[in-house]
């Protein structure tokens, strides 16, 4: 493992030790974040899956109803009947913070779509099939909006988890070992210097004693 290039001094050693402590703490925090995010993500994804299954079957059913309706109504009348809604569906959005991932929460106002007389066309010129198809479709609306919310949340959370996982791995497998390695090599270098110093001192002492002895003689 490559180590960081620094001067082997006590100053640097102290700095590195601080960095190691910070990196270890960060690693622990990020790991906790990842685990918690993962837990919540799996809940969201499971729910998304059920809601999607539900919406898909319901939509297929409503598509069939529309096909049936268009079989008994001329395309012109059909378009005319469906083209002008009584009221537009509108959404209000608030945000929710899930482990620092901002996910949207949709509050919908279905407008005219959910009233019992929500049909935007006269009953005289259209068939009952259209009524059935439209009411079927308006029944799935809440689920569809829920699905939109859940899918978005799961996409955003997936992205955040991916990022966090990368950070955790980078800290665990690169940063921390690198710093540890460097600390070790600095300590060794300092010890080596210390030993070098000691032997030099002993040598000098020997020489001085020898010189003194020679001077006496």
């Amino acid at each position: 493992m490559a180590q960081i290039r620094v001067n082997p001094t006590r100053m640097e050693l102290k700095k590195l030790k601080n960095r190691l402590a910070v990196a270890r703490r960060g690693h622990k925090l990020l790991k906790d974040k990842r685990d918690e995010l993962m837990k919540q993500f799996l809940d969201v994804v499971r729910e998304t899956k059920t809601v999607r299954e539900k919406v898909e079957t319901a939509l297929e059913k409503s598509n069939k109803s529309f096909a049936l309706a268009s079989a008994v109504t001329s395309p012109k009348v059909m378009t005319e009947a469906l083209m002008l809604p009584k009221k537009e569906v509108s959404l209000d959005i608030s945000e929710k913070n899930v482990m620092s991932v901002i996910v949207p929460v949709f509050h919908y106002d279905l407008g005219g779509a959910q009233q019992s007389d929500g049909y935007n066309f006269g009953l005289a010129f259209t068939s009952g099939e259209i009524d059935a198809a439209v009411s079927e479709l308006s029944e799935i609306l809440p689920d569809m909006i829920k699905l939109a919310e859940l899918e978005k949340s799961s996409q955003l959370m997936a992205e955040e988890i991916e990022k966090t996982r990368r950070r955790v791995n980078a800290l665990e497998h690169v940063m921390i070992p690198q710093i540890e390695e460097t600390i070790k090599s600095i300590t060794m270098k300092l010890d080596e210097n210390e030993r070098g110093n000691l032997t030099r001192l002993m040598k000098v002492k020997d020489m001085m004693i020898k010189a003194q002895l020679e001077g006496k003689n």
Partner: protein
């Protein structure tokens, strides 16, 4: 206030007009890409798009993936579900977990 958009072929999308969604009829990839761009600029928070069209303009859809809004959701068209929407959920699981753990059985 935000709106809800739908992009689809004529038969699949017509019904959504009646319930108050903003509908764009698209038959080709260019139409769909254009409609997607238009709807997202028009303050649509949710855009439903039929799986058939979504497959054609996957790249454009991916660019909205990491933004908070709009949420682009695939819906089955008149010819039935192709499983593209499910595939998307599967992909985000793979992205997050690193392996597919939800759909193993099917």
């Amino acid at each position: 206030m935000y709106k809800i958009g739908v992009i689809g072929d004529r038969e699949s999308a017509l019904g959504f007009m009646a319930v108050g969604f903003t509908v764009r009829i698209a038959e080709s990839a260019e139409d769909a890409a254009h409609a997607l761009k238009g709807l997202s600029e028009e303050n649509c928070a949710v855009i439903f798009i039929t799986e058939e069209l979504a497959e054609l303009i996957m790249e454009d859809i991916q660019s909205y993936k990491d933004k908070t809004l709009p949420s682009v959701v695939m819906i089955p068209s008149k010819s039935g579900s192709k499983g593209v929407g499910m595939m998307n959920i599967k992909k985000s699981v793979e992205r997050a977990v690193g392996a597919d753990i939800l759909f193993k059985n099917n």
